[in-house]
Symmetry: D2
């Protein structure tokens, strides 16, 4: 039976790196540290088929070597943003190995916030996880996507859901006042060849959060669309944004059997099942 | 600023259903139960854009309604395989709602094995998780993919890795005897319009495991390719298989400082970082 | 063979409740919401043995009833602190059921921070998880323990570890400059019958963080002891504190093979194995 | 303010070790491997207070040294059972270090089953996780506890719950036919100074599963008590067993709105909230 490898990729995942930036400055900030932590996945495509089909490893850059490389690059690069470090990783592998055709880098940052008043003490912040993905194909410009995970936000009012499709399987009632809660994931695609990724992220996140707050929501769908539009308006360097907003249901507790009226006060919090809503919005 | 929704999808995820099949048979097996459990994600695409752009929910089948529907379908369908139940779910939504253009269903099964000698007691088996994914676009045949997750397998010898690429970042030595361990994910695409999904799964898994065992492995890549070929050879109904085999490293413990020789006996088990290898192999 | 139940307990775990506090105030803050979320475990001990030994359920308050009760109590109580809500839960079960001898309540809070400028939008904060545990035995005062989980903190310098025990299994070298990182758990025991739990928590956390920062650490042990002492000094209402400080290792990456000197800049982040240090410190 | 360390302990957690037993036998089984994997926590108590109170590390056996030691002991010991390896670890630390007063060892095994027909290929089994805990205090006999985690079992009938306590918070109806499902944890305490731990485990698990199946259950409590008694009857070497049986609810789906009768066939599977039942049963 004849077979053929139609696609292959390999690399190292979950290479976790922390870096202390130790700027030697003049006093009084002679040693004011910064701490950055990132987990990196790197994947290679290229002339690797003989390893699969003939047990010939000569072209295979060991995943252990990939890992070594990431630590070296972490030394040489400031890691001022996950996007820029991802680009440097991709460029390195394309530049160093002629038989690599495509590099995919995915990065997840652990943000460390400075503890008040300290030059070298930090607390891990977890209310939002910055992410980046860089795809770099030989001979093309790198495609850079910034993003975030685990931004959990809620509106305790100014949210309803009415007049949705009626059929024999519908049991949910219309409501004009509910909790809307979501654990949002976002990914924005840069159209500009170069950008100030950190400044872009800051303006996009601010726009997303402000828009989440400022309107009465007729549905997760509508709120998602408004937030996506606000992000595109806030940052000229991006041309597209995908938001995924699972509906983390807070269900009104039924207190009627216990002679209490629940005036939208007490809710049952559930993880599953959950509504799932995603859309990609483009600048026209 | 003008924007446009270039893609959208929504639905209900993690709808977890258990079903007791209670065949009313003649004695002595008058009530020999079977227990099946599945978690279902269903996603819809179609004429839903007005909900995003105009807060108009009239076309939106609530995700709560999707959930209700899945429980009703679980009642009406035998759930004899995750693939067939996934097809039934997709067909239902296309058939019932003219404004739905595409249905995606993903299913993850929790296998329950019968406890010896019992008609109605079971133990949750977890050495491999069956999965299925069905994509059904209006006017087309459903695309059915069977698969599995969390099949963790190891070879304690008959595995090496030598003669791989040498460069300034390589520190890993050649080895002709190592542990090869992986937590495999597989996904096989049916080319036949109809198939006995359960029988196909059984023959594919048997072929994967037998091939994993029967050869000296020059790399994860080679073993992956051989296993994929064996699966395609074992089941004529599939035309393509994707295997993902992260390398769950068991690293030889360094006992030299303690005056012990480690004859490939004691290993440090690590989860991360890990080598990641994936390929898709097609029947030609 | 004779057997005897020497201990038993039961209840409902992971009852997740969110509550919107909707204070009806005068304008302009007519409806300035607060959102509190808590997961509660409640366990009962008492005259329940017949259920085990004779299948007699008459004394068994169903765990479903326990769950109902928690939602009712969430309606009736302001949930101004996890400690006070835990006390109310314990008191309710002892007061309502004469055959309950002991109630144990454990609570884990999900903190929601207000989004800037909004009366009713919130973001889930996760840099520290407040906890509480109340044990209330009939005829005794409740024992109240406040605490926290998942406070992940790091010092990038001002930490060393030297002159520790030398023996034939030691390979770790002395170091006078390393990263000290930990994911701390704390539990403080109230000696006062009544306390302002929220104010106490605030002063304890502030003292823990300030002490973490302000000294050169000779070991996790020493830092733990100093932090515990600072917490006891900061809050007269507690008599004992237990700190658990797993050592989340950031290991210096070895860049020597790649002709780079690693001046305490690049580290390998690992989750396991990890050093584990715990101590309980009492006020004398 | 005077403070005092009332308790302290430290050690290394999550030391994950795999060991290949390579018995050099006569052909045809010249090299029939066995693969064992275990994660070990070791904790020490003793004369360590000066590290906390005076930054004096001279008595501190580094947790890195503890880790080294575990790998050396894994080389020297057959790891024929988690209990026996735990005892060897405890004895080593007490024997080697005069200033250690108590050693606590906790072990969690990853079982690897042989792939059919292979001398050296294995699949990770996960339907039950063996555990052990050894507490060894200087001058006393070691206390050995065998156990298991994650044994998920279900009865699809022969289980009911009726006549439980009635009060104003009860809404759950009596039922004489329900699914009883649990993810059981067990811990049995050896009274014998020496025992064949592997044989004991086998007979205890067989007794637990057989008893789970063989009766009509009036409650989780009753079934727990019967199972505990069966384990004590099956193994004379143990004097006490603790079973924890969270009630993993499979709730009957309400299909009435959809004109279907649910004859105990379709269930909603939930993880939380969950009923929690535990008891310790002693041999009299």
């Amino acid at each position: 039976m004849a077979t053929r490898v139609s696609h292959n990729a390999y690399g190292k995942h979950r290479v976790r790196i922390s870096k202390v930036r130790r700027p030697r400055q003049a006093p009084p900030n002679a040693e004011r540290h910064e701490l950055v932590e990132v987990a990196v996945d790197v994947e290679l495509q290229g002339d690797f088929e003989a390893a699969f089909t003939h047990g010939d490893n000569r072209q295979v850059i060991a995943t252990d070597t990939c890992k070594n490389t990431l630590y070296v690059l972490a030394k040489d690069h400031p890691i001022d943003s996950v996007e820029s470090f991802g680009r440097a990783v991709a460029e390195h592998f394309l530049g160093r190995y002629a038989h690599v055709e495509q590099v995919d880098v995915r990065l997840v940052e652990q943000v460390w916030d400075r503890l008040a008043g300290s030059d070298h003490s930090f607390v891990a912040a977890q209310k939002m996880t910055p992410t980046a993905a860089v795809t770099h194909r030989r001979g093309e410009s790198p495609a850079v996507v910034g993003g975030l995970e685990r931004l959990t936000i809620a509106k305790t009012t100014e949210s309803g859901f009415v007049d949705f499709h009626r059929d024999e399987f519908r049991t949910l009632a219309d409501t004009t006042d509910r909790i809307l809660a979501t654990e949002m994931t976002a990914a924005w695609r840069y159209s500009a060849a170069e950008a100030d990724y950190a400044a872009a992220r800051e303006s996009i996140v601010a726009a997303l959060l402000e828009r989440f707050t400022d309107h009465y929501s007729h549905s997760v769908q509508e709120t998602l669309y408004l937030m996506a539009g606000a992000a595109l308006a806030a940052c000229a360097d991006i041309g597209q944004i995908t938001l995924t907003m699972p509906n983390k249901h807070h269900l009104l507790a039924n207190l009627a059997p216990f002679d209490r009226e629940n005036e939208n006060e007490v809710f049952v919090v559930t993880d599953e099942p959950f509504g799932y809503i995603t859309a990609t919005v483009d600048r026209e």
